[in-house]
């Protein structure tokens, strides 16, 4: 039993190490820069649908609606804005602040201080597929994704090791 346990633990350790290694191996982001992005929102997608930035970048986002009122709720960055058609302003609030007054801004500004994939979603009911209207903000380096893929590969490797060990009679 103990030999089996050791191998199970060894397997788990390999998984974690492989995942961590993969995540750590991603090259560090380029130096922070300022990014100005023009985005449009329509029923039911944003264009560009995916934003790629680097960690530390200051993102200045202008969004224009092509049809009806849309919203822009960016998770993890405390940004919730309404995009009014025919208006140059976005109506910005921060979900974490209660009872806040709406601020009219021309662009959304935030610093991409967290890495990974974050989604932005429409927050004003804009039609049928409103709940599925979303886009992605990917802040490089996406260490979680790297670690995850590495962990999958590590798990496979661990399984191979468990399968190929010499001791007979253990499943």
């Amino acid at each position: 039993m103990t030999a089996r346990r050791v191998f199970h633990v060894a397997g788990a350790v390999i998984v974690v190490l492989a995942g961590a290694a993969a995540g750590a191996l991603l090259p560090s982001a380029a130096p922070a820069q300022e990014r100005r992005i023009q985005m449009t929102a329509r029923q039911y997608a944003y264009d560009p649908p995916v934003l790629h930035v680097n960690r530390g970048d200051t993102v200045r986002l202008r969004i224009r609606s092509l049809d009806v009122i849309h919203g822009f709720y960016l998770e993890a960055f405390d940004i919730k804005a309404s995009i009014i058609p025919d208006s140059p302003y976005l109506e910005l609030t921060h979900p974490s602040r209660k009872g806040e007054r709406v601020e009219k801004v021309e662009e959304l500004v935030f610093v991409a201080d967290k890495t990974g994939k974050f989604r932005f979603r429409c927050s004003r009911v804009c039609g049928n597929m409103h709940p599925f209207m979303q886009g992605e903000l990917i802040v490089a380096p996406n260490r979680l994704a790297g670690a995850g893929i590495g962990a999958c590969v590590g798990l496979l490797a661990a399984a191979a090791i468990v399968a190929l060990r010499r001791d007979p009679g253990l499943s």
């Binding site: 609606s65 049809d67 009806v68 009122i69 058609p85 009911v125 039609g127 049928n128």
Partner: protein
């Protein structure tokens, strides 16, 4: 026990729709003071229509509702209960300083006002709601305090629809 179970089922089958009707009636009643003239209007994006009709699940996609023509009197206390069947619409009667107010889908938005002068006034949608937004109008007719029709020079004719003609089914 069998008869108790059967009774429960029958109570459920009858009770649920009755409960729904009761709650709907309760929600439609205006609390506080009596004497309000309540007008229910629903905004519909396909066709750009303000309607009196109940636009719900079973008719939204297959039926084009009729354009509403609310009629009120000078001196009445008017309460508009506004609904949207799809997206965020706007509601505004600029000449009477009513609104602009956003109509959120799935909620009832209330607008109260007391008309002071007789005439016909334009109701328009002020938040772009789709292809028919520019033609989304209705006419509010305000009659005199005793029901007299508005004077001729205060009548309003809506421009004919070009893009969003209404072929009623």
């Amino acid at each position: 026990m069998e008869s108790a179970a059967t009774l429960l089922v029958l109570l459920t089958l009858a009770g649920i729709p009755l409960w729904v009707l009761r709650e709907e009636a309760a929600a439609s009643r205006v609390p506080d003071e009596p004497g309000w003239h309540v007008i229910d209007i629903t905004a519909v994006a396909p066709g750009g229509i303000f309607t009196f009709e109940n636009v719900v699940g079973h008719n939204y996609w297959r039926h084009t509702p009729a354009v509403a023509r609310p009629v009120v009197r000078v001196g009445e206390k008017v309460l508009f209960r506004l609904r949207s069947a799809d997206v965020i619409h706007g509601f505004s009667i600029p000449e009477l300083q009513v609104g602009p107010i956003a109509i959120e889908p799935g909620y009832v938005t209330e607008v109260r006002f007391e008309p002071k002068e007789a005439g016909e006034f334009l109701i328009q949608c002020v938040f772009r709601c789709g292809g028919c937004h520019e033609e989304m109008f209705a006419v509010l007719e305000v009659r005199g305090p005793n029901g007299e029709p508005p004077p001729e020079d205060m009548k309003l004719k809506l421009p004919p629809r070009v893009k969003c003609r209404l072929n009623r089914t």
